[in-house]
């Protein structure tokens, strides 16, 4: 009897282990010569899980929409990087060495993308990030590209919003010191806000926390004592939703602003009524489609997933389309040729707008400002790059 129970337990364990195996092949491919493999490394578990999952939904949709290039089938190899920098580097190595992918898509979170930076550079396999916004992701790396705007722009947009629209004169920063995204975006916000107010003391305080923290009461109590007009807190949707909830519980009633990572349904679910009025910048809105492809993307997405589309899915969709466009123009599946053609992407019409990559491999695009209102993300305005 004991043995039997042991066996049952062991078999359950094995089943679970095989189910939780991190890679899944999306389309059954035939001969290796006949399929083109594109690797995807995104966080499907951990603190950035929602962002990664939304992105993958968009990539899968793009793969269904356009499943062939150069007469060959395109196969996605999706790997979970677990929101962990070490896992992200391993995932990228695995895609290149084991799965022999010709190009890589990913990852949500700048830190995770940067972890794979040297790996793709040394292996000479191009990577296209969907939403990592920190400038360092592509800087000095010819093999890393992205289809989104970067944080110097995003930080300026939010500083402008705080200064012009909210009339704020004093701002406090609450940043996640483990995320390059959060620290970088805070820095650009600070620079820009100081310039706008013309006052070096306009930033009344910078406080920090770590990814995965749940309790922010100590930091928030200190911030409350500084009496800021506005709080800028870029970071993961989960931590920030808890942070805002605790801020409201502590009686902090000033507006709280953030960045594109806040756009996840979990942000509203976890934050509840506390996150009402939270304002953030993002990449795309379904309320103002910008191109013909936006409309196709929106209707396809809603048909497939039965829910409203989001910026990350749209960026995942675009990253895939940009790579396929480059493969087509290269007329080759050689990674170096693909890289050269991604670099010359110009006026490519994607779901999130027209994409032209600059010399760093960054897209120059407009930003969208959204606000949480009535338990939904509501579109406020679009800010053009200058």
């Amino acid at each position: 009897m004991k043995k039997k129970i042991g066996l049952i337990f062991l078999s359950v364990l094995l089943v679970a282990a095989s189910l939780s195996g991190c890679a899944s092949k999306e389309t059954a491919g035939g001969d290796d010569e006949e399929v083109i493999k594109i690797g995807v490394f995104e966080p499907m578990t951990g603190s950035s899980a929602a962002g990664g999952e939304m992105t993958v939904e968009g990539i899968k949709l793009a793969n269904e929409t356009r499943s062939e290039v150069l007469g060959k089938k395109v196969e996605l190899v999706i790997v979970d990087n677990k929101s962990d920098k070490v896992e992200a580097a391993n995932a990228a190595s695995r895609l290149i060495e084991k799965d022999k992918v010709v190009a890589i898509i990913g990852s949500y979170s700048s830190s995770l993308s940067m972890a794979a930076g040297d790996i793709v550079k040394n292996a000479r396999v191009p990577a296209v990030g969907c939403s990592p916004t920190n400038p360092l992701v592509t800087l000095n790396n010819d093999y890393y590209f992205r289809v989104c705007f970067i944080d110097p722009f995003q930080g300026t947009v939010m500083a402008n919003y705080a200064f012009n629209d909210l009339g704020a004169k004093k701002a406090a920063i609450i940043q996640d010191v483990q995320q390059d995204y959060s620290v970088g975006l805070s820095k650009y916000f600070i620079d820009s806000f100081k310039k706008l107010t013309g006052d070096d003391n306009s930033i009344v305080g910078i406080t920090s926390y770590n990814t995965g923290d749940q309790d922010f009461s100590a930091q928030l109590t200190n911030v409350k004592g500084l009496n800021p007009d506005v709080i800028f807190a870029p970071g993961n949707y989960g931590e920030c939703a808890l942070l805002i909830k605790q801020a409201r519980d502590l009686g902090i009633n000033v507006p709280i602003l953030g960045g594109d990572t806040w756009e996840a349904p979990e942000f509203i679910d976890i934050g509840g009524t506390a996150v009402e009025g939270a304002v953030f910048s993002t990449h795309f809105t379904s309320e103002a489609p910008v191109t013909e492809l936006s409309k196709t993307f929106l209707s396809d997405y809603e048909a497939k997933y039965k829910k409203e589309a989001n910026a990350f899915a749209a960026l995942g969709y675009d990253a895939y389309m940009v790579i396929l466009d480059a493969i087509e123009r290269a007329n080759s599946t050689d990674s170096i040729k693909i890289k050269e053609n991604i670099a010359t992407t110009k006026d490519f019409v994607g779901a999130t707008g027209t994409i032209t990559l600059d010399t760093n491999g960054d897209a120059v695009k407009s930003a969208v400002i959204k606000k949480v209102d009535g338990g939904k993300f509501v579109y406020l305005t679009t800010v053009e790059p200058n």
Binding site: A16, T45, L242, G272
Partner: protein, 294 residues
């Protein structure tokens, strides 16, 4: 006024640690087994409550009790599957089995519940904010210490005054002699695990109310920290675990509040405290004073 607010925050967090540490320390006290899966049982308790509140018509307070009972039964089954077959083995074998059980539950959580976080369905009553002379805090800050103290009293009563409790103490003193005295070892161990997991679930529910973000790995850090709290208090000692929890919670908050530059070392603080206590007073604060362990 700020310092009062910080202390309130610290007590609020500390009482939560204390609540989870009680279950940890109780299982250790009786079986000399560090149940590393305790944090994951805590996670299961929170998820079961989530599904119970959202997908059944049962009122939330009944769901809370039912979820704790169901989690208790899961803990009991875990003992039967992962620990009982190894009962005669060296302690290290059971310890490794506990670590294995912990990883199993975490990965099972990812497969069953998904990697994306879920929002804990906090009943509206708990969302109330109370403001006393500038010190502002959620109602839950008052509820958690009350629950902790009530459970502490109930548990102490159970262990010192009831027959089953007496059997538990006998078991913790001398396993073999106890079995020779006609104590049904299997039953007592099952009850111990049931209570331990029940307490973990109560901790999970309270945690969910305070930090309404459920993730399959949410039990890892609290599990470790509450283990530390239990060691600080003297592992095996229930009152010690509560004191350890408060020390840890207050310490963390005051570290971040008074030395903002050290925020990044918040989790490290807990582990440094663990190392210090093991070096200076390995038996913990309450370990020696009260000879009677539970």
């Amino acid at each position: 006024m700020n310092i009062l607010q910080h202390i309130t925050n610290g007590i609020s967090l500390g009482s939560l640690y204390a609540l989870i540490a009680i279950g940890y320390t109780m299982v250790y006290g009786i079986l000399r087994l560090i149940n590393f899966a305790h944090g994951d049982i805590f996670m299961l308790g929170a998820y079961i409550t989530y599904y119970g509140v959202l997908f059944t018509p049962i009122p939330w307070w009944i769901v809370f009790i039912l979820a704790a009972v169901v989690t208790g039964i899961i803990g009991l089954l875990l003992e039967k599957l992962a620990y009982k077959p190894l009962r005669g083995s060296p302690r290290i074998t059971i310890l490794i089995s506990a670590i294995g059980a912990s990883f199993f539950l975490e990965n099972l959580g990812i497969v069953v519940f998904g990697g994306r976080p879920k929002a804990f369905p906090t009943p509206d009553v708990f969302n109330k904010v109370i403001n006393i002379r500038g010190v502002s805090t959620g109602l839950v800050t008052f509820i958690i210490p009350i629950v902790t103290v009530l459970l502490l009293i109930a548990l102490t009563y159970f262990i010192t005054k009831t027959k089953t409790g007496m059997a538990m103490r006998a078991l913790s003193k001398d396993y073999e002699t106890a079995s020779l005295m006609g104590i049904n070892i299997n039953r007592i161990i099952s009850i111990t695990f049931f209570i331990g997991s029940f307490l973990a679930a109560v901790g999970g529910i309270m945690w969910g109310i305070k930090f309404p973000q459920l993730m399959p790995l949410m039990g890892v850090m609290p599990g470790l920290k509450c283990f530390i709290a239990a060691v600080i208090g003297g592992i095996g000692n229930i009152t010690g675990a509560v004191i350890g929890g408060f020390i840890l919670g207050l310490g963390e908050i005051l570290l971040v509040a008074l030395l903002p530059g050290l925020t990044g070392y918040r989790d490290a603080f807990a582990f440094v405290l663990l190392i210090l206590i093991l070096l200076i007073k390995p038996t913990g604060l309450m370990g020696e004073k009260i000879a009677e362990k539970v």
